[in-house]
C-alpha cells in the first residue's frame, strides 16, 4: 500500500485542512491546548503538501488528479469524463504558495490576537474552512466544483468577517458580503447551466476544446468575468470589499486578501484557458484593462479621503488589484498576436508577480493595523498619534509594507510594477502614466497614515500602549521576511514561480 504522496498531493492539500477543521470541535472538548495544536498541525501538514506539489510542478510539470477515478491519467481524459478533477499546474502551485505563506503568518498572528474572544474553536474551524475553500477554488479543473468551492469560501469568510462584533457593524458588513456573494453565485450557476447545456461537459479541458464563440458562450463569459471580478474587487463591484476588510479581525483580513485574489486566479484561468481565442480577445482584454484602470484610480482616490486605518488599506487593496487586472488585461489584449512575445508576456508576468507581492505586503499592513487596534482599541486616524514611541517593531513592519505597496525601488512592489509600467507603456502610453500617478497617490496616502499614527508627540491617552505580543510580531516578521526576500531576488521568483504560472495559462495540463 505505497501511497504516492506526490501524485495525491492536490487532494491532500484539500483533505487535510478539512479534516482538521472538523476535528477541532471534538478536540476542543478535551483540551483547549489540543485545539490550537491541531490548528497549527493542520496548517503545517498542508504547507508540506503544497511544497511537495509545487516542487513536482516546477520540476516535472503539471498533472491532473481525478477524484475516485480509476487511474490518474496524465492528461485527464478517459474515465474522468464525469468525475471531479483537480489540476496541479503553474497557476494552482503559485496560488497555493501565496495562500500558505499568508495563512501561516495569519495563524501565528491570530494565536495572541484572538485570545480575548470566546468561541475560538469556531474561529479555527472557519479559518481552516476558508483556506480549504480558497485552495479548492484555485486547484479545481471542474466548472461546477469551482462553484462549490466559491460558495464554501464565501460562507466561511462571511462568517469570519462577522466574528468580532463592533456594535453590529461587522454583522452588517458580513451580511452585505454574503448577499452579493450568493447573488453572484447564482449568476455563476446560470452560466454553468449555459455551458453544460451546450456542451454537456463540465471539465475545463474538454470545455476549452469544444467551445466555439456562440452568443450563449459570450453571455456565459460575461457573467463569469463579472462574477469573478466581483469576488476580486474590481471597481464597479468593489463596494463590499472595504466593509469586509475593515470589519474582519486583523488576522482574517490577511487571508481574506488572498481569498479575493483567488477570484483573480480563476478569472485568468477562465479567460485564458477556457475561452482562449474562441472569443475576440482584444475587446475582452480592453474590458479587463478598463476594470483595472477604474479600480486603480478610484481605489486610490477613495483611500485618500478615508478616516479609519483599515478602510484606507482596503481601498488600497482594490487599487492594487487594478494593477494586476491591467497587467494581465494587456496580455489578454495581445493574445495570439506577435506582440504577445514582445510585451504581452512581460505584462502578464508583471501582473501575476504583483499578485503574490500584493498578498505579502498587504497582509503585513493589515496585521500592523490589527496591532494598533488590538493595543489602543481606537480605529479612527484622528484619535491616534505618537504611537511610534512605544511600538518600535510595528512601525518598522508598517514602513516595510508601506514602502513596498507604494513601489519604492528596492522593494518587491517596485519590481512587479516596473514590469507592468514597461510593458503597458509599449501597449498604450496613457495607461502606464495613469498607473504611475496612482502609485504616487498610494505613497501619499501611506505617508498620511504613517504621520497620523506613528509620528507626533507622545499622547497620554494612548501612553499605556506597549509593543505587540511576541506571536503577533512573529506573524508579521514572516510576511516581512518574504517581502524582503522577494525584493532582493525578484529574478529568482519570476523565473521559478511566475513563468510556469504564465505558461500554464496558455495550455491546460
Amino acid at each position: 500500500m505505497n501511497i504516492d504522496i506526490v501524485q495525491h498531493s492536490p487532494a491532500l492539500i484539500l483533505a487535510v485542512p478539512l479534516l482538521f477543521a472538523f476535528l477541532t470541535p471534538i478536540v476542543a472538548r478535551i483540551s483547549e491546548k489540543g485545539r490550537d495544536a491541531i490548528f497549527f498541525l493542520g496548517l503545517f501538514i498542508m504547507a508540506f503538501f503544497v511544497s511537495v506539489m509545487a516542487y513536482e510542478v516546477y520540476t516535472v510539470g503539471g498533472w491532473s488528479y481525478v477524484f475516485g477515478g480509476g487511474t490518474v491519467t496524465p492528461n485527464g481524459t478517459g474515465s474522468s469524463f464525469f468525475r471531479i478533477l483537480f489540476v496541479a499546474d503553474g497557476i494552482s502551485a503559485m496560488a497555493s504558495i501565496t495562500l500558505t505563506i499568508s495563512a501561516i503568518g495569519a495563524a501565528i498572528y491570530s494565536y495572541k490576537f484572538m485570545e480575548h474572544d470566546t468561541g475560538l474553536n469556531k474561529f479555527n474551524t472557519l479559518f481552516l474552512l476558508m483556506i480549504a475553500g480558497v485552495n479548492g477554488m484555485v486547484l479545481t479543473g471542474d466548472l461546477f466544483n469551482l462553484f462549490v468551492w466559491f460558495e464554501v469560501a464565501s460562507v466561511s469568510s462571511a462568517a469570519l468577517i462577522a466574528f468580532k462584533n463592533y456594535e453590529g457593524e461587522a454583522v452588517e458588513a458580513a451580511l452585505k458580503y454574503m448577499i452579493l456573494s450568493v447573488v453572484a453565485g447564482l449568476f455563476f450557476l446560470l452560466s454553468i447551466g449555459f455551458l453544460y447545456g451546450q456542451y454537456g461537459v463540465l471539465n475545463f479541458q474538454l470545455l476549452a476544446e469544444n467551445i466555439t464563440g456562440t452568443n450563449l458562450d459570450k453571455i456565459a463569459l460575461t457573467i463569469l468575468v463579472v462574477v469573478l471580478a466581483l469576488k476580486a474587487g474590481a471597481v464597479p463591484l468593489h463596494f463590499i470589499i472595504p466593509d469586509a476588510y475593515s470589519m474582519a479581525p486583523g488576522s482574517v483580513t490577511a487571508v481574506l486578501v488572498v481569498a479575493s485574489q483567488a477570484g483573480l486566479w480563476v478569472l485568468f484561468r477562465v479567460v485564458f484557458t477556457l475561452y482562449g481565442l474562441a472569443v475576440n480577445t482584444f475587446t475582452l482584454g480592453w474590458i479587463v484593462i478598463v476594470l483595472g484602470i477604474l479600480s486603480m484610480f478610484i481605489g486610490v482616490t477613495m483611500a485618500l479621503v478615508q478616516k479609519t486605518v483599515k478602510r484606507l488599506m482596503a481601498y488600497h487593496a482594490i487599487s492594487q488589484t487594478g494593477y494586476m487586472l491591467l497587467g494581465v488585461g494587456v496580455g489578454l489584449a495581445v493574445l495570439g498576436q506577435p506582440e504577445m512575445d514582445i510585451y504581452g508576456r512581460l505584462a502578464m508576468e508583471g501582473g501575476i508577480f504583483h499578485i503574490i507581492n500584493h498578498a505579502m505586503y498587504k497582509g503585513l499592513l493589515f496585521m500592523t493595523a490589527g496591532v494598533i487596534i488590538y493595543e489602543t482599541g481606537k480605529r479612527k486616524l484622528d484619535e491616534l498619534g505618537g504611537l511610534g514611541h512605544s511600538m518600535k517593531w510595528t512601525m518598522v513592519f508598517f514602513m516595510i509594507g508601506a514602502l513596498a505597496i507604494a513601489g519604492i525601488p528596492p522593494f518587491n512592489g517596485f519590481a512587479s510594477k516596473l514590469m507592468i509600467y514597461k510593458s503597458v507603456y509599449s501597449f498604450n502610453p496613457l495607461l502606464s502614466i495613469i498607473a504611475m500617478v496612482v502609485s504616487i497617490l498610494t505613497l501619499a496616502s501611506f505617508v498620511k497614515v504613517f504621520h497620523s499614527i506613528f509620528m507626533g508627540p507622545k499622547d497620554e491617552s494612548v501612553s499605556k500602549t506597549t509593543e505587540a505580543p511576541k506571536p503577533m510580531l512573529l506573524g508579521m516578521a514572516i510576511l516581512a521576511g518574504v517581502v524582503i526576500l522577494f525584493s532582493l531576488f525578484p529574478g529568482l521568483v519570476v523565473s521559478t514561480i511566475v513563468e510556469p504560472a504564465v505558461e500554464a495559462l496558455g495550455v491546460i495540463v
Binding site: I179, F239, M302, L381, L384, A415, K422, P490, G491
Partner: protein, 112 residues
C-alpha cells in the same frame, strides 16, 4: 549566477542597494569632516506662529488623520462628492452596480 538569480529585465535591486551604501558612505565621510564644535544657533528662536502662543509638545500640534489632505479633497470636491456619494452602503445599490456592469460588459462583448 547572481545575475540570473536577481536580474528582472534590467532591474537589479542589489546594484541599487550597493549604490545606496556607497552614497551613504560618502555622506557619512562628509559628516565626519564637519566641525563638531559648531553650535546650532541660527534657529534658536521659537517658530513664528503669526503671534499665537505655541501649544508646546501637546496633541494639538499634531495635524493628522483625515484632514491631512483637506486642500486636495476640497480642490477636487466636484470629483469627490459624487464618488463618495456613490458608496451609500445600501445593499440594493451594490446589486444595481452588479447588474449594470453585467449589462454593460454583455453589450460591449456582443457588439464589438
Amino acid at each position: 549566477m547572481i545575475n540570473q538569480l536577481v536580474l528582472v529585465r534590467e532591474w537589479h535591486p542589489l546594484v541599487l542597494i550597493l549604490i545606496g551604501l556607497i552614497v551613504g558612505l560618502v555622506v557619512y565621510v562628509i559628516y565626519r569632516l564637519g566641525n563638531p564644535s559648531f553650535k546650532e544657533t541660527r534657529y534658536k528662536r521659537e517658530p513664528f506662529l503669526s503671534g499665537n502662543v505655541s501649544p508646546g509638545e501637546s496633541k494639538a500640534l499634531h495635524i493628522g488623520g483625515s484632514n491631512l489632505y483637506w486642500g486636495f479633497t476640497r480642490a477636487l470636491k466636484k470629483y469627490f462628492k459624487p464618488l463618495v456619494g456613490a458608496h451609500t452602503g445600501i445593499v440594493n445599490d451594490y446589486l444595481y452596480w452588479f447588474i449594470i456592469t453585467i449589462a454593460i460588459v454583455m453589450v460591449v462583448l456582443y457588439f464589438v
